[in-house]
Symmetry: C2
Subunit: 168 residues, 2 copies
DNA sequence: AGAAACTTTCAATAGTTTTTGAAAGTAGAA
DNA sequence: TTCTACTTTCAAAAACTATTGAAAGTTTCT
């Protein structure tokens, strides 16, 4: 396989993977393009390479910066901005995890907390059953939240050791 | 909070959580409705409760059965089908993980394997850099795949012990 | 200040996914 | 076999999400 074909294939596949992860296609494509490109790229470069409009490029670059997966980089003597991706895959995973914890786990935990406060006749079996199920979900989601919290605060060694332990 | 309000709120929230997990809103809503309902529900019950059409109900119930999160249950003397959800949250997590591993991790691993075969002039630095990045991604996604594989083959005790270890 | 070189915004458009509901299909009862 | 009570399908419509590109905004330079 030729380098250009391989790059293209990787960018497209990473793009479609993104869509099943709450990350839109263009955002994932820009990310993967930057991942496999050593030198910083300008918005123009990205637009040309992925054949997308200026607005689309701008919007998704900003989202990537927001997620801390990409950073601006200024080049001496150049007025325009250039962008580079975080290249350390462990860091990428850590940031994606942190962002999703904030956007998904935390809101659902708040809802679970609210609905667990359900009131009803003291001996209402339906209420008891509902509370029991919510409490089990709370327990599970709470554990997940604690693990992701731990992950976002740990370093790459922790991750490596953990994976080894899990698989050992 | 009243039981009916709490149920409604839980179903709606679980529905929107689903959308960030590659599970569509209705599918997640049906799942959560069945999760908090002890007795088996018919398609009619689900349609009425969520105010959705017959086609939509049918399609998403089938998808849930496909994911093994819901099963059909026949009732003596009744001709229609009833449905119940898997109530064990650990089992639910295990099945969702197994399904996503199959749908997302495995395809991307195949693409990574392909693009890692890239050929080019022996000392082409660009090719070397590309291969290096792909190899690091392969390594990471491969570990993730191995962990999810382990998880789908383990029992609830493994999960409990693992979480304890991670957080300890 | 004005012009040039960029970045950002946003209303319109395109594209994608979900939902509907009527029609077709299927299986049990008589 | 036909009737009836269901389930499934699928083309059309609706809802939602992403993308475009022109215009507005910003910053830097002279």
């Amino acid at each position: 396989m030729e380098l250009e074909v391989a790059r293209e294939k990787f960018v497209q596949s990473w793009g479609s993977l993104g869509t099943s992860w709450g990350i839109n296609r263009t955002m994932a494509q820009i990310h993967s393009l930057l991942l496999i490109t050593k030198k910083p790229l300008s918005a123009e470069d990205i637009m040309a390479s992925l054949q997308i409009s200026r607005g689309n490029a701008n919007m998704n670059i900003r989202a990537l910066i927001d997620w801390q997966l990409v950073r601006r980089e200024l080049q001496a003597g150049e007025r325009k901005e250039f962008f580079v991706a975080e290249k350390d895959i462990w860091e990428v995973a850590r940031r994606v995890t942190a962002e999703r914890k904030k956007r998904e786990l935390e809101p659902i935990l708040r809802v679970l907390e609210q609905v667990s406060q359900v009131k009803g006749p003291k001996d209402d079996e339906e209420v008891a059953e509902f509370k029991e199920m919510i409490s089990r979900i709370q327990d599970f989601v709470g554990k997940l939240d604690a693990v992701t919290e731990k992950m976002t605060k740990s370093d790459r060694n922790w991750f490596f050791r953990t994976v080894m332990k899990l698989m050992g």
